[in-house]
């Protein structure tokens, strides 16, 4: 469905008039920028260098960093959830969990332990939000991971609710090693390519770097304001 646009012509004509010319009608090409300093950041770093940068920045943003293999993921994730005090746990609905062998943990192991688990299910509507709000741990997956700022990037969809990363008390991001790039530059390029290839840009792309925080009272850092109090990244060696 197409939305409405109101009051545009007079508004934009006025801008053109102030700029001393007619309205621009031909498609405008972006100029070749004279400077591109962003491309030089960590340009020569290897993947392992980037992992090191990521890990060291996690410490600065109060985020626990764990590395594991695909085979070790079930144990590592179970431990991370236990460290945060157990359930209820809410996750996206995502094939990658199955691919990484987590189904048994989610659907057999946790129920057996009495740990409440909810997988996002768009057919049950707002019930998902209620579950996320009551959850102790939210688990999502990084599409692109920025080493420089220790940032995970999430793409929303009907199966990948935005609030899974915000409403629960604590947050765990699964980070495939193959998703690591130097910085936001590469993520922005990837998003732009998606658009240019005719794919829809996700309605919500979250760049998340650690837990929620604020310094609004006397500039003292408080961790856990509106979003999670704690965050853990689990790096999965998938290369």
């Amino acid at each position: 469905m197409t939305g409405t646009i109101q009051n545009r012509e007079s508004f934009l004509n006025n801008i053109a008039r102030q700029l001393g010319r007619d309205r621009l009608k031909e498609p405008l090409q972006k100029p070749e920028w004279k400077y591109n300093p962003q491309d030089k950041v960590l340009a020569d770093a290897t993947v392992d260098d980037l992992v090191e940068v990521l890990e060291s920045h996690c410490e600065k943003i109060n985020t626990t960093f764990i590395t594991t293999t695909k085979a070790g993921l079930t144990v590592a994730l179970n431990e991370a959830v236990k460290n945060y005090g157990g359930g209820p746990v809410v996750t996206w609905k995502d094939e990658r969990f199955t691919h990484w062998g987590l189904n048994d943990l989610f659907n057999n192991e946790w129920p057996k332990q009495g740990l409440e688990y909810h997988e996002w299910d768009y057919t049950s509507g707002d019930d998902n939000i209620r579950r996320a709000e009551q959850a102790n741990v939210g688990i999502t997956i990084s599409e692109v991971t920025l080493a420089e700022s220790a940032t995970v990037v999430l793409f929303s969809s009907k199966d990948r609710g935005r609030t899974v990363s915000f409403l629960p008390k604590t947050y765990i991001a699964l980070v495939p090693k193959s998703s690591i790039v130097p910085r936001m530059t590469q993520a922005a390029k990837k998003m732009r390519e998606m658009h240019q290839d005719g794919q829809r840009v996700p309605a919500c792309v979250n760049f998340i770097s650690g837990p929620s925080n604020s310094a609004d009272i006397e500039l003292q850092l408080v961790v856990g304001v509106h979003g999670p109090f704690k965050a853990t990244y689990i790096l999965i060696d998938d290369l």
């Binding site: 936001m184 998340i208 408080v222």
Partner: protein, 476 residues
């Protein structure tokens, strides 16, 4: 609140600021703290000047082609099912937003921090139609429950309050019973606000940057409040100043990085959120309906003038944190929601010289603001231009300058007054003095002290020294 805050005149406001010793200590501490973090964050890049040049070229290109990019933005938003309203005035913006609120029969609005909505006085416009409006940024929330205390800093709005004052406000207004520990205070606000997010009908946000090519826009926070504001209510309204736009994700990335490094010294904040249109058909969270309101409110009058570069601003407040005048007088002295050097340039342009002709004089023209600006706005030159316009074209100098010139005339004409003046000099220079050398000189001294120290004004004036020497008492 509107852009203009309070009804006191400039010198009354400054008098209050200078006599508020907690505020002055807090501002000085904040400037030192954030200033050092900013410096570290930009220096570790190793080529900050190149970043600044890139920031500048992006912002200049956008302003030169603003009509094109706004048209492209609006087309792309409409294609994704969003609605776009172009508002020339605050009244048009508020009327449109009230229309949406009424149509939705909305009773409760949650808001994330937005300077442009302050500028158009949106909150009171919505309260007038019986709507409850709740600010969710912790700093803004504190100010709002304290009977709408005005913000004193663009990035840290409640900077002028100490934690005991915050506790007292919480105790009085929220029945809070715990300590003045910032963590306990913040967690109490979290509890209060969680329910509001879940029950609000409409979420209202500002816009850090819109992206023309995809019809997207970005919100930058550390608290995550903007994310709850944009994922829980069924209707979302985003208000943007018309110049806050970039061509594509590639330029968005650069400016967000520069914004957060310059504002608080962070590589990235906890949350950068890029939203495109309303939720998709089967999505569970995110708004079903999305409106973008693009506000002019005097900005177009700045285009094509010698002040155009002020529209390059990305609202990082690095200039505020570097300004020696802001340090001493605090944010409320500016009488505008936009304080510091950017406020002194922008407020007279948006609000007129009648209310703001004093602000361009609230500067030593030392140029510290221009040096830290990530997008290279020549702030101190624009302040100087304002003074030229005020004196030459408007034919009026503000009271402070007239007094100054009068005082200079008097002072130079009377030896007694001259002596009094030079006696004051050492204490006025104290903040810049270490071991009798001035290492960070203000104003005209700056160029000199950049390369060497300048001898501090002698604690013993020459006249006193000479007199003492005559008496044979001086040890100098």
């Amino acid at each position: 609140m509107p852009m203009k805050i309070g009804n006191e005149n400039f010198s009354e406001r400054v008098g209050k600021g200078i006599n508020n010793s907690f505020m002055r200590g807090a501002v000085a501490g904040a400037q030192d703290n954030i200033g050092a973090r900013r410096l570290h964050a930009v220096e570790e890049l190793g080529n900050w000047e190149e970043w600044r040049s890139h920031g500048e070229e992006i912002r200049q290109h956008v302003l030169e082609n603003l009509d094109y990019y706004l048209e492209q933005l609006s087309e792309n938003i409409a294609n994704r099912g969003g609605n776009v309203y172009f508002a020339s005035t605050p009244e048009e913006a508020n009327d449109y937003i009230r229309g949406v609120i009424k149509k939705k029969r909305a009773k409760k609005v949650v808001k994330s921090k937005s300077m442009v909505t302050e500028e158009i006085n949106l909150n009171s416009s919505l309260e007038d139609i019986g709507c409850e409006v709740i600010e969710t940024d912790l700093g803004e929330y504190i100010l709002q429950i304290d009977d709408h205390d005005p913000p004193s800093h663009i990035v840290a709005p409640a900077l002028h309050k100490n934690k005991e004052q915050v506790r007292d406000v919480f105790t009085e207004k929220l029945g809070y019973k715990k300590s003045s520990d910032p963590t306990e205070l913040a967690w109490h606000a979290r509890e209060m606000l969680r329910q509001d997010y879940l029950t609000a009908d409409v979420g209202i946000t500002g816009c850090n940057f819109a992206v023309a090519e995809t019809g997207s826009f970005a919100l930058v926070t550390n608290e995550g409040n903007a994310d709850l504001v944009t994922s829980l209510p069924k209707t979302q309204i985003t208000v943007m100043g018309m110049e806050r736009i970039v061509p594509s994700f590639e330029e968005l990335e650069v400016l967000v990085s520069m914004l957060t490094r310059s504002a608080v010294g962070q590589k990235l904040p906890s949350y950068v959120t890029v939203l495109t249109g309303p939720r998709e058909a089967q999505d569970v969270d995110g708004p079903e309906e999305f409106h973008l309101v693009i506000v002019d409110n005097g900005r177009s009058k700045i285009l094509g003038t010698e002040f155009q570069s002020v529209l390059q601003c990305i609202r990082c407040a690095a200039c505020v944190n570097a300004c020696p005048v802001y340090r001493h007088v605090g944010g409320h002295s500016y009488g505008s929601i936009y304080s510091g050097p950017i406020g002194a340039v922008l407020s007279p342009l948006l609000g007129g010289y009648d209310d703001y002709k004093e602000l361009p004089y609230a500067s030593t023209l030392c140029g510290a603001c221009t040096e830290v600006c990530p997008v290279k706005i020549p702030l101190h030159e624009l302040l100087h231009k304002h003074r030229q316009v005020i004196v030459e074209k408007e034919g009026r100098a503000p009271v402070s300058e007239k007094l100054l010139m009068k005082a200079f005339g008097l002072g130079a004409a009377s030896p007694t007054l001259y002596k009094w003046g030079s006696k004051l000099a050492p204490s006025a220079m104290n903040p810049f003095t270490t071991d009798d050398k001035i290492s960070k000189g203000p104003g005209p001294l700056k160029a000199w002290t950049d390369v060497r120290d300048f001898p501090a004004p002698n604690k013993e004036r020459f006249r006193d020294w000479y007199k003492n020497r005559e008496k044979g008492e001086s040890k100098s």
